[in-house]
């Protein structure tokens, strides 16, 4: 059920920022989808339709709290405050990319923003989150970790090992399950025997919640509660956010396995549109302001494309850089 009430702990600017961020992600991904021919990689996964989760969740943590991401990571990157110019350049494989063109779409990371990386391996984020949370706990840093993963990862063994360990050590982790209904072409109702995946939490003695509306405020409120609980030493929570992937699995996917009716039905539940209406109703913004936000967003994206085009291709002489941090000692005797 969608809550009509806007949270009182967020200022007007912060509430408007949720909208701006979701729109930025949406337009960014639209642009990527449009430019797919130029980007060339068939392995670019867009976040269109799922914006409410990354934005709502990241609004509930501090700037120096951590997140781990998935192969569908552009949204998390933007929501955590990453720069879209270096994101765009990375997806294009340019030197100016956040990973200097070494990682690409599936490995975008900004450690200066505590965004610990998109990850090409389904289910690999949560085990890494354990270590991040443990380090934070050992150093008394009072930080939390949001670990995003999908319904596909929900059936990976690594995730279950991670939930168990996080629970016995009461690690400050929020397991954010983005259930977009499909693991590539495999529907979640085929892949799992239960309706709400948050039920899994019970087996690990932790709280599990399902948000079945694609609503940024609901995500924010639920995650915030779990974050406070984790920060106070209560341990992890599993939060399932039901959503829908508007596009195919990735840029190469013709997406013939889902019906047009199903897709249209979900598009009616667009989280950005719904939130816009809510903001207008609450008189935080008006139509003119919305137009201004839309124009600014498109301008930002246009600029990122321009910057990306100007950014050089990575120098092939540097292809062996950064494999190791410490130089390989080959002294001989």
């Amino acid at each position: 059920m969608s809550s009509d009430e806007l949270p009182k702990d967020l200022s007007s600017d912060e509430l408007i920022n949720l909208y701006k961020k979701m729109l930025l992600i949406r337009e960014f991904e639209q642009r990527i989808t449009k430019d797919v021919g130029r980007i060339k990689s068939p392995l670019v996964h867009t976040y269109t339709g799922e914006e409410a989760i990354a934005v709502g969740a990241c609004a509930a943590i501090n700037e120096d709290d951590y997140i781990t991401s998935t192969h569908r990571g552009h949204g998390h990157f933007i929501a955590k405050g990453g720069n879209i110019n270096s994101l765009m350049a990375e997806i294009y494989g340019k030197e100016g990319g956040i990973c200097k063109g070494r990682g690409g779409s599936m490995h975008v990371a900004d450690f200066s923003k505590y965004m610990l990386g998109a990850n090409g391996i389904v289910g690999a984020g949560p085990p890494l989150a354990l270590g991040v949370a443990l380090a934070s706990k050992m150093r008394n840093e009072d930080k939390v970790v949001l670990t995003f993963f999908g319904d596909g990862a929900a059936n990976q063994g690594m995730l279950h090992e991670s939930m168990n360990l996080a629970a016995i050590w009461k690690l400050p982790i929020i397991f954010v399950l983005e259930n977009n209904m499909y693991g590539w072409s495999t529907p979640v109702h085929y892949a799992t025997p239960i309706k709400d995946l948050s039920l899994r939490a019970q087996g690990y003695g932790m709280k599990g919640l399902t948000i079945d509306v694609n609503d940024v405020i609901e995500v924010y409120k639920t995650i915030k509660e779990a974050v406070d609980f984790a920060r106070n030493g209560g341990g992890p929570t599993l939060i399932e956010c039901k959503t829908y992937r508007w596009g195919g699995q990735m840029t190469m996917d013709a997406d013939k396995y889902r019906s047009t009716e199903e897709k249209e039905e979900w598009k009616k539940k667009c989280p950005i549109e719904a939130y816009k209406i809510k903001l207008i109703k609450s008189e935080l913004i008006d139509k003119a302001f919305i137009q201004k936000i839309e124009e600014d967003t498109l301008e930002q994206i246009e600029l990122s494309v321009k910057i990306t085009k100007k950014s050089p291709k990575p120098d092939t002489n540097t292809v062996l850089d950064d494999i190791y941090k410490n130089p390989m000692n080959l002294g001989g005797n």
């Binding site: 063109g101 450690f111 890494l128 354990l130 090992e161 168990n164 360990l165 950064d322 000692n329």
Partner: protein, 328 residues
């Protein structure tokens, strides 16, 4: 001036290295199964729980991916974890965190971070471990750019290389030979005694045959070389000590001198450490060779349980001796 040393077993040398580094650096911690109360499957970490407490000697459930996830994730944000995987054979259930995460993070994230994790793995035969508790997987990890692969063969090197591994900023997989655990040796007590990676160790000098060996095969090669001396055959026994980086120079210089090469390792033959070393010499030192290269390995067979079967397939001093004579 002689260095101050103490005679101890390999496993105690590893423990000493860990203990010293934990005292030196608060970011070093241990994680693994049964490493606390029990002291580790091979007692390497015995007594450390009492000394450092459960926060830094972290016992886990049997969840190898979670163990390595913890270690790698913590290393990504600046800790220096040491993870123990109880038997090398169990690496198969947690390859993901090593191969796709630890080894790749520095490069694929454009050098934003490094992953200073040390992964300790007991390996090899000799304890009637049979097919799933005896394997030598070290060559697999040589095939993964981004990892450093260390394989010491005696107590002194265990200490010096473990300290370097912990201090190194890159992911290190540290193979601990089970037979070498129980081998005693003189170990320097200097707290800053470290051995750099990429430096092979020459155990004997000789002009006739170069024997490159790893792990338990080093001792077998030394025994063989000693016996061969009686026949006036002088062998140079070299232990690379680190497989990545590999000290090619020491090996090639020796082959230049002897013209003959035997490579011995405990892994099964196909795509083994010996295969790589033979290839390096064939490619970069072909002009030095006066005879064919001989590789001595365990054949491509699962490790059998019965001791007489196991003994029959693992290379030993006698086999090495006979093969040296074939080359002369």
């Amino acid at each position: 001036m002689g260095e101050e040393t103490k005679t101890m077993r390999g496993l105690e040398a590893i423990r000493l290295a860990i203990e010293e580094e934990m005292e030196r650096d608060e970011s070093v911690f241990l994680i693994g199964e049964d490493i606390g109360r029990f002291g580790g499957a091979f007692f390497v970490t015995e007594g450390l729980l009492e000394k450092f407490g459960p926060e830094r000697i972290r016992e886990t459930p049997i969840s190898e991916n979670a163990i390595l996830g913890c270690a790698v994730g913590a290393a990504m944000v600046g800790m220096r974890p040491i993870a123990e995987i109880m038997f090398a054979d169990f690496l198969t259930v947690c390859m993901e965190m090593i191969v796709n995460q630890a080894a790749k993070a520095s490069y694929m994230y454009g050098g934003q971070i490094s992953v200073p994790v040390t992964i300790r793995v007991p390996f090899g035969t000799g304890i009637m471990g049979a097919a799933q508790h005896s394997q030598s997987f070290e060559s697999w990890f040589m095939h993964v750019p981004g990892l450093k692969v260390v394989l010491p063969s005696d107590a002194r090197d265990f200490k010096g290389l473990m300290k370097t591994a912990i201090r190194d900023d890159d992911p290190v997989i540290f193979f601990e030979n089970k037979r070498a655990y129980y081998l005693t040796g003189d170990v320097p007590l200097d707290k800053d005694f470290t051995i750099p990676f990429g430096q092979a160790r020459k155990f004997t000098e000789g002009d006739d045959v170069t024997i490159v060996a790893t792990g338990a095969m080093v001792q077998e090669s030394i025994i063989a070389a000693t016996k061969l001396k009686e026949d006036n055959i002088q062998c140079e026994v070299i232990d690379p000590r680190t497989l990545v980086p590999m000290d090619k120079k020491t090996i090639l210089n020796s082959v230049e001198k002897t013209g003959k090469l035997i490579v011995v390792d405990e892994g099964c033959k196909t795509c083994s450490v010996s295969a790589e070393i033979a290839a390096i010499v064939a490619e970069e030192g072909f002009q030095f060779l006066k005879n064919r290269i001989i590789r001595l390995n365990t054949p491509d067979v699962p490790i059998p349980y019965s001791p007489n079967l196991e003994k029959a397939i693992i290379p030993n001093a006698k086999l090495i001796q006979g093969n040296v004579k074939k080359l002369i």
